[in-house]
């Protein structure tokens, strides 16, 4: 019984985080903040839901498989977010010169004051 309560608690908190993600995706102003919402909160939500499911079924091999899926989420979601953010910076989906601090362009040695012709 306590196991079920724990499972439901984990799953519902995961669902709550997913809801927060959706609100963030809708409300945040530009690409990077939205990616932030998608990355951080969604990873936590997915991991929580998989943990909850693992507790819910409570059978060794099945739970192990589900937890492996959670670990896979933990790996893949931040990495995908990283790739998306980088690609959107390079493709200039959100113009980097709009921001006050642009550390990545300093790292790359780019200068955005001139006309940027490089693609």
């Amino acid at each position: 019984m306590i196991r079920l309560i724990i499972a439901y608690f984990l799953m519902f908190s995961g669902a709550g985080f997913a809801l927060i993600t959706v609100i963030g995706l809708l409300r945040f102003p530009d690409v990077y903040t939205r990616i932030h919402a998608g990355a951080v909160v969604l990873t936590i939500s997915a991991v929580l839901v998989t943990l909850g499911t693992a507790v819910y079924v409570w059978e060794f091999f099945l739970s192990a498989k589900i937890i492996l899926i959670g670990v896979f989420f933990l790996f893949s979601n931040p990495m995908a977010t990283h790739a998306i953010a980088r690609a959107s910076y390079h493709r200039e989906v959100a113009l980097p010169k709009e921001y006050a601090i642009d550390a990545y362009s300093e790292y790359l040695g780019r200068d955005y004051d001139d006309s940027n012709s490089s693609s």
Partner: protein
């Protein structure tokens, strides 16, 4: 005016087709399970006939294995056609790949993807999955290599020639098992009886796991060739 006429025509044809389909689907009887006969027989005695716990795999690779041979030949033909049509293109594709973080992470994850695809292929007769699905997951590895590490890396690791050889090998595994069925049991693609063991174990369902393996390799290599030939020049023109 002409534009509106066209739009009205399209919409009216659309609505008429929808009404016709709706009227005809009303005639189809309520879903009460299929008529007795084939499906009942397979559900009741499929396990004892084939030794495969997953009845869908039993149907796909034993009862109707010839259809699966045809379907995998469709992929084979599509690969040949796409390579034929696209092989002269030389496209400007970056072969640098993505950033260091992505490369490292995929370096960690890729063996597990390969393991998962092998799992799906070899457990086709025990759990959901089978040759087609596992083969597509195998093809995904090649796609990941092309995207993340750049297509040159993919070419170095698994060149199209290797993929072609794998595809042929998979096709001949399937066909050869069928011919072995003729030689040993008297029928093309008959399940080989001497390979059966206790149900539930990995190598249990006669020739089904081997057929699955052949289909998996064939489909995986074929789809990888399709993807690769769409982003890069694959083969030399043979004049």
């Amino acid at each position: 005016m002409h534009k509106y006429l066209k739009k009205t025509l399209v919409i009216s044809v659309f609505i008429l087709t929808a009404i016709a389909l709706y009227e005809n689907f009303l005639l189809v009887p309520e879903y009460t399970g299929l008529r007795t006969g084939v499906s009942d027989y397979i559900i009741s005695s499929g396990l004892s006939d084939t030794g495969s716990l997953n009845l869908i795999t039993a149907v796909l690779y034993d009862y109707r294995a010839f259809d699966s041979l045809g379907e995998s030949t469709v992929i084979f033909g599509a690969v040949s056609g796409i390579v034929l049509i696209l092989s002269r293109k030389m496209l400007p594709v970056s072969s640098r790949g993505l950033s260091f973080i992505v490369k490292r992470t995929f370096g960690l994850v890729t063996p597990f993807i390969a393991l998962f695809s092998l799992y799906v292929i070899t457990h086709g007769h025990l759990s959901p999955g089978g040759g087609f699905q596992g083969g597509v997951i195998l093809a995904v590895i090649s796609i990941i290599f092309s995207i993340v590490y750049g297509s040159a890396f993919d070419y170095r690791r698994y060149s199209p020639q290797v993929k072609t050889a794998m595809e042929t090998m998979g096709a001949f595994t399937f066909l050869g098992l069928g011919v072995v069925g003729i030689l040993m049991e008297g029928f093309f693609l008959k399940n080989l009886g001497f390979l059966t063991a206790r149900t539930g174990t990995l190598i249990s369902a006669g020739s089904i796991p081997y057929v699955n393996f052949g289909v998996g390799i064939k489909v995986g290599a074929g789809l990888a060739i399709i993807f690769y030939s769409m982003i890069q020049k694959t083969f030399k023109e043979d004049f």
